[in-house]
């Protein structure tokens, strides 16, 4: 087959592939850049068909007609490419009519110049026929309008390449890098063909390889669309993400000067970009938001109240190349709504607890009098029912006491009267108090103190509360006739009190939640064991208020040991 005819077949194939891609783009026209891709591919197809027709028609007027018509595609291509690159690099970008008009002026002008070239010869100064490889080719001398159009096209293509390269630079996803590379190959392949043609280095004389290069463009875009989901996934630029954020973001350099701030930050402080950039954070931001230190500690979060609103401020280090710190990113989240909800919840719990406490007290006392047969002897069945009612009312009363204790702790209203206290004596008193309750579980207590007295500075009543809770928990979870050991020992300037049982142990998945309010390994336990799920969190808070630590060790099936450490009186 004649080489020129072979290339003409390639041109036709390129046109078919291009039309296929144009149809695909039209089908996905709602995606960003899809319409521009369709127009680009239709322009390629038009150029290819006209080029093939120009070669395959023998007469000069027919060749000139197709050569002139090919300028419809030639002129449209760079503008369509530019819009595609713009839409890809700036998701959501939609060219305005004025932009389309500006980009459309040059292609229309070139087409008019081409169709009227006979009268002005600005595009090609002369055109003759020359025999190449058995076919007649157009031998043209290019005019100033052609060179002007070429420079304009190259500028648009260069801008497109720059936009796409920027996407690679800012993208961390291989998916998006693949998309951009496929588009870059799609631009560069015909561009190389065009340069070769214009400088006279093309392997087949008089044959413009530019449209053939579009065959590579078609393949590259096909690969980009189906392998890297070019039209389905469009990278969202990080600055768009930053600007769209509801939370305020401020970036400081190492000198605590503001180097960046998003729209939410500007709105929050009612400042313009000019007012905020480059300024010292301490002088521009309101006092609660300004970093206290010259180098604000990273990974630190705090909550503040400002203008009747609550904000959570978190600092994160900004690192260059993932190593050296170059600044600090401050994230400000408006948590007012969350705070209001929390306060409403706390108020609700508080009011309900207080309001329930009075009637529960009356019910409990009345049942106590009935059960004590103060107002008359009860029949056996009624006595049992009253005993059940009394037991459950006492449970409800304990729950209310615990909720109110939690409320006091959370609001910092729990008061402590510290005094010098002997933990050995405390343990004995606690055991005296719990023995009657523990009788129902049939457990034995054993106190082992390796010190004769263990003096600490603590609130006697609150420490009794902690001991009673730990001992009652141990009793509840011990097997029948199980032994509970209470140990008091010295431990590096402190005393440790441990309560060890031989119960089932704490399930592995529950250990991290054990000190959370209302946490129970098995929710059915609250009925079975009579607990509220608040006891341990109250104990932890009380011990921590004493500057101590409450912890535990547990082995499945072998039991648990809860312990707390308190500093000894020096």
């Amino acid at each position: 087959m004649n080489l020129i005819v072979f290339f003409c077949v390639i041109l036709i194939l390129t046109a078919i592939v291009s039309l296929g891609l144009a149809a695909f783009g039209y089908k996905h026209r709602s995606a960003s850049g899809a319409r521009a891709l369709s127009i680009l591919m239709i322009a390629v197809a038009e150029w290819c068909v006209c080029s093939a027709a120009e070669w395959l028609t023998p007469s000069l007027p027919a060749k000139l007609l197709f050569a002139n018509l090919s300028y419809l595609g030639i002129g449209t291509l760079p503008a369509a490419m530019m819009i595609l690159a713009l839409q890809y690099s700036r998701p959501g970008y939609s060219p305005r009519w004025f932009t389309c008009f500006l980009l459309g002026v040059e292609p229309v002008a070139v087409l008019i110049l081409a169709l009227t070239n006979q009268s002005h010869h600005l595009l090609r100064t002369s055109a003759t026929l020359i025999s190449v490889d058995g076919l007649q080719a157009l031998d043209v001398k290019l005019g100033p309008a052609f060179w002007g159009h070429t420079v304009y096209s190259y500028v648009l293509l260069a801008c497109s390449v720059v936009l796409l390269f920027r996407q690679i630079w800012h993208s961390s996803s291989s998916q998006f890098i693949g998309q951009v590379l496929s588009m870059l190959i799609g631009i560069l392949a015909p561009w190389v063909g065009n340069v070769l043609y214009l400088v006279g280095l093309n392997p087949v004389p008089y044959f413009d390889f530019t449209p053939v290069g579009f065959m590579i463009t078609g393949i590259a875009l096909y690969y980009g669309i189906f392998r890297f989901h070019l039209l389905d996934l469009v990278p969202v630029a990080r600055d768009i993400v930053l600007e769209s954020m509801k939370d305020a973001v401020i970036v400081l350099n190492l000198q605590n000067r503001i180097v960046d701030a998003n729209r939410a930050a500007l709105t929050l402080f009612d400042l313009s970009r000019e007012q905020i950039f480059g300024g010292k954070a301490s002088s521009i931001l309101p006092a609660p938001f300004a970093p206290k230190d010259e180098h604000p500690p990273a990974d630190e979060a705090s909550e503040i109240k400002w203008n009747q609103c609550y904000y959570r401020i978190s600092n994160s280090p900004v690192c260059a190349n993932g190593q050296s710190r170059v600044g600090t990113l401050i994230l400000l989240q408006d948590i007012t709504e969350r705070k209001q909800t929390e306060r409403m919840k706390d108020e609700f719990v508080s009011v309900v607890s207080h309001e329930l406490r009075t009637p529960v007290t009356s019910i409990r006392a009345s049942l106590g009098l009935l059960a004590g047969e103060v107002v008359g002897v009860l029949p056996e069945q009624m006595k049992s029912l009253v005993a059940i009612s009394l037991e459950d009312t006492e449970r409800l009363s304990r729950l209310l006491d615990d909720i109110l204790d939690m409320e006091r702790i959370q609001e910092g209203k729990m008061e402590f009267r510290h005094q010098t206290l002997d933990l050995v004596d405390l343990a004995r008193r606690s055991l005296d108090g719990i023995r009657c309750y523990a009788k129902q579980f049939g457990v034995q207590f054993q106190l082992e103190a390796s010190v004769s007295n263990a003096l600490v500075h603590a609130d006697s009543d609150r420490m009794m509360q902690v001991m009673t809770n730990l001992l009652s928990n141990a009793a509840k979870f011990s097997p029948q006739n199980g032994e509970i050991k209470i140990m008091i020992e010295r431990k590096e300037g402190a005393f440790r009190v441990s309560v060890a049982d031989h119960g089932p142990g704490i399930p592995e998945n529950f250990r991290s939640r054990i000190f959370q309010p209302f946490a129970q390994a098995d929710s059915s336990d609250s009925r079975g064991r009579g607990g509220t799920g608040l006891g341990l969190s109250i104990c932890k808070a009380i011990i921590e208020k004493h500057g101590g630590q409450l912890g535990f060790q547990s082995e499945a099936g072998a039991g648990s040991t809860f312990f707390f450490d308190l500093n000894s009186v020096s």
Binding site: P359, V360, A365, L369, V374, R417
Partner: protein, 134 residues
């Protein structure tokens, strides 16, 4: 016959605004403790009834609408019939500093709420005996 040990404590003026608690405490004090109980629902009522009833001891709720416990205690001091009558406060607020405050203004002791009706009388008797010894 436990209450025979402290014969001098017979008449108790119970001041409590919650009618349910008032009724329960009255039954507990009368049936369990064997005391003669006069009930009042407010500080003002207690002032006028106290002067006629002449109680051996006053059991006074701290938080009441209108005249509260401490104000009522102060008013008792203004009348010779009740000026020297020992007063025991009943309160849900029994943290150490609160108890210290009640004592500082003249209360003999404080009974914490909620109280156990079965042990309330014994508790009062213990406070009474301690007070008599002092």
């Amino acid at each position: 016959m436990q209450y025979m040990d402290s014969l001098s404590l017979k008449k108790i003026l119970l001041v409590e605004d919650d009618c349910h608690l008032q009724y329960i405490a009255k039954i507990a004090l009368e049936n369990v403790g064997g005391f003669t109980v006069k009930t009042c629902s407010s500080g003002n009522e207690a002032i006028s009834e106290g002067r006629n009833f002449l109680p051996d001891l006053i059991l006074l709720d701290v938080m009441m609408p209108g005249m509260d416990g401490p104000s009522t205690l102060k008013m008792f001091g203004h009348f010779p019939e009740t000026a020297k009558t020992p007063v025991i406060f009943m309160s849900a607020k029994v943290q150490k500093h609160e108890v210290e405050y009640y004592r500082s203004i003249g209360a003999v002791d404080v009974i914490s709420k909620p109280f156990d009706p079965m042990t309330l009388s014994n508790c009062i008797r213990e406070i009474w005996e301690k007070f008599q010894k002092s």
